[in-house]
């Protein structure tokens, strides 16, 4: 997977969390995941698709991270993953997928996003769109960690680059 297609999602996570939570977020080294089990206890998953690209992105949080994010965003302490925490995680995934879309438009790629789904439980699985390897990007937020998983399949790289070339010629 070309890093230029991963960066919009990474930048979207950083912008989303720094704006909504007010803390700086550090990206750690990415790795490839070969199994469906999530790193975290709660995941927000959202699909994106167009004629150019298809895939899904998930934000997956250990319970402690999810509760801390909820506390920071809503100003309220909760002791376990309830409906509000699930809603927050789904909305964060939604904002990340939408924000990434804005940067993808610079690459002449557009897509529609689905409604987020949220999965909870120890060792739950995340089903991504397509049978491509899943890239995992860990993030560090103070003492808390969370992960973004990205699966992506470009449908027609040539048509995308052809359109970009055509656009440059007419510009």
């Amino acid at each position: 997977m070309d890093v230029k297609y991963i960066n919009p999602f990474i930048n979207a996570v950083v912008t989303t969390f720094e704006t909504m939570i007010g803390l700086s977020i550090d990206r750690l080294d990415p790795f490839i995941k070969t199994h469906a089990t999530a790193q975290g206890d709660i995941s927000g998953i959202i699909g994106y698709a167009s004629k150019d690209i298809i895939g899904s992105v998930a934000l997956t949080f250990p319970e402690g991270t999810a509760l801390e994010i909820y506390r920071l965003m809503m100003g309220e302490v909760v002791n376990d993953i309830n409906e509000e925490v699930k809603d927050t995680v789904g909305e964060l995934a939604n904002i990340v997928a939408g924000t990434a879309k804005n940067e993808f438009s610079n690459l002449e790629i557009s897509y529609h996003i689905s409604i987020p789904t949220v999965v909870v439980g120890k060792n739950h699985t995340i089903s991504h769109k397509g049978s491509v390897p899943v890239v995992v990007i860990p993030f560090q937020m103070t003492n808390f960690k969370f992960f973004m998983e990205i699966s992506m399949k470009l449908n027609s790289v040539t048509s995308v680059s052809q359109r970009m070339r055509a656009k440059m010629q007419t510009a």
Partner: protein
């Protein structure tokens, strides 16, 4: 000033309402999707809406509202992460008056709402 806040995320509605409350906007109605919102328009002075929602999304709802002459002048603000040029143009063309990009800070939200409600 009665404000209708439309978003499928309950926590997002809470964040928006909290920001409005701190600025003295206290008369607020909530809806969780476009279809729900269409039944709650009577007496509304300002509408803040999400785009990506189940049942009926924000853009379809705005198109529906603008088809009704009695809501032709209702100020509508879209609050969404989808803010590529193409989306913004499409929203404005279909009757959205202003745009707030998610993620936002409460200060940005309040500033935009005050500007739109003063018009």
């Amino acid at each position: 000033m009665r404000i209708l806040v439309v978003d499928d995320s309950a926590t997002m509605r809470r964040i928006i309402i909290k920001a409005l409350n701190t600025t003295g906007f206290n008369d607020i109605t909530e809806a969780e999707d476009g279809e729900d919102a269409l039944t709650k328009l009577e007496g509304i002075d300002l509408l803040l809406t999400d785009w990506n929602m189940p049942v009926m999304d924000g853009l379809s709802m705005v198109k529906e509202i603008r088809r009704n002459a009695s809501f032709a002048n209702l100020p509508i603000m879209m609050i969404t992460s989808q803010a590529a040029k193409k989306e913004v143009i499409e929203a404005l063309k279909n009757g959205v008056n202003d745009y707030i990009v998610k993620p936002f800070t409460p200060a940005t939200l309040v500033e935009k709402v005050q500007a739109l409600s003063a018009k």
